[in-house]
Symmetry: C2
Subunit: 361 residues, 2 copies
Amino acid sequence: MSRVWNFSAGPAALPEAVLQRAQAEMLDWNGSGASVMELSHRGKRFVELAADAERRLRGLLAVPAGYKVLFLQGGATQHFAQIPMNLAPEGGSADYIVTGHWSEKAVREASPYIDARVAASSASANFLDLPPRDTWILNPDAAYVHYTSNETIQGVEFHDIPDVGRVPLVADMSSNILSGPLDVSRFGLIYAGAQKNIGPSGLVVMIVRDELLARPGRPMAKIFRYAEHAANDSMLNTPNTWGWYLAGLTFEWLEQQGGLAAMGERNARKAKTLYDAIDGSGGFYSSPVAVHARSRMNVPFTLHDASLDAAFLAESEAEGLLALKGHKAVGGMRASLYNAVPQAAVDALVQFMRDFATRHG
Amino acid sequence: MSRVWNFSAGPAALPEAVLQRAQAEMLDWNGSGASVMELSHRGKRFVELAADAERRLRGLLAVPAGYKVLFLQGGATQHFAQIPMNLAPEGGSADYIVTGHWSEKAVREASPYIDARVAASSASANFLDLPPRDTWILNPDAAYVHYTSNETIQGVEFHDIPDVGRVPLVADMSSNILSGPLDVSRFGLIYAGAQKNIGPSGLVVMIVRDELLARPGRPMAKIFRYAEHAANDSMLNTPNTWGWYLAGLTFEWLEQQGGLAAMGERNARKAKTLYDAIDGSGGFYSSPVAVHARSRMNVPFTLHDASLDAAFLAESEAEGLLALKGHKAVGGMRASLYNAVPQAAVDALVQFMRDFATRHG
């Protein structure tokens, strides 16, 4: 069939231009006579590709001096465990801001290694809002403060970087990295699974301040130590070379789109289009999330009558609108509007939603 | 340029038919209207792909009942650390057979977690031979015995499965898995980085006996526990979906080639072609490895005059023979002859070697 409009929460839509280039280069990348997947990560050609991708990412985010950029494996979930192993001593403690499914999981995976203190939580609001900053009880001696800048499942997003004083701020940005400009200097460590705004799954991008890499952490295998990965330019062992390659193509595509300021504007417009359609539907659709905390990337919404859900999903899929089913933890619908989802896709979705409401109203 | 003959040690040559299919399906996989990389790993289509790949691998290796097959991340190196975490209690001990670079690294990464005992080593033979079985000093109470079935750098390979009695045998088969028939029932755990005989880098395939998954290991994050991955069909978190897809295509290709018996015969013939050319070169080329331990997958060899090395590499590359430089730890040349390297590639290499010897003899 022809290409669909893909609202998957992750793995998610990739820029079509990136896929076309990867397709064209599949059997002969860069004049090598081989696929990029068939080349040694230590060969000159791949080392250049790797450095180029990092350079583009540093440019897009204006990463200041004093930060390393790492290309790792394991998904964000593995780093829920690995971050405390690296940044806190045995018996140490860190503060966690809990705003939904993923930050809860970050606490759970950290707990075998440190005292993962819940310094703030919006559990009592059913994760449909963010915990007000004046309710946060931060420990000034915490090894770091961890938060999830966007909750993919609940659809809540921080629109400002929280001020946590002098304790290093660690952010899981898996689902909103590169969605707009970012002041990296405010962070000690940023990490993101690639499969939303960067590339395919199986790759994690991390941006980490040098002084955090110097922390001794705890005794562990070298392969778990970020400082070792940094010292080896993320080639301590064989990296996910295909993921790194596609990430580089995506960074190049973002440059061509005008960079992160342009993406931020587009993403704001896409989100406004969809939230306006929901809010203007006369109650046919509704968004459960507090308006000021609504995510630009993941938009959960419900139909006024849940018995229409199955028809909504079947009819939308028949019209080439893919993956609108909400996560089972919250039900209803969810449209993910990552960078690679164009305004045209949101327009098509909104048109479908109006038509559906008319037919079933 | 046209496709080269690729002798890379890893990431390595992939079957051209697999690359062509991945290319054709890049923008629209299986009628989904999206790339396989753009689909949720929890969606029906990908779950079917995942199960199909596992079924094909089980068929190829005739995996007996009572084993789980896992698709993981992190490279073999991460599992050097994770295997002791899972299979041994705190303060536990395991036996390691050290036969080269990779088994040494396995010991080093295991050591923060267990007493990683060197039960046998060929270090005194400079890793150019295997330690004779009657020199192994095994501990009957070891949590497991670990060995490296093929050493990619030194080019030594076990041609039989060692008998280690009742202690579970654990094998790093990264560089020779699927190169011929295998009696899986002899093993407690087999693992392999994908980037030699399975697919692209960033994927690890593990075959593990159920009773080993039941071991409590030590306290750790869920994401490191193999039993959790097994209970979640390797979707505890988002897997490397592209790697899983290409692995499935490679397994299908292996079936079309006649399965592992046919591959074993081809690999034996390829290796014989190259070793015969080396041994029959009148000393112009030589293999440093003891004949009975020579690897069928990785063939290191030296020129009688190392000052010819640069010319050999430049001229071979000009003739479309890629990645023949030996690993820096051993020098000289190395040709890797994984499944995706056809007899024609080896024939071309041998012809070049003869011509080169004539020109420079």
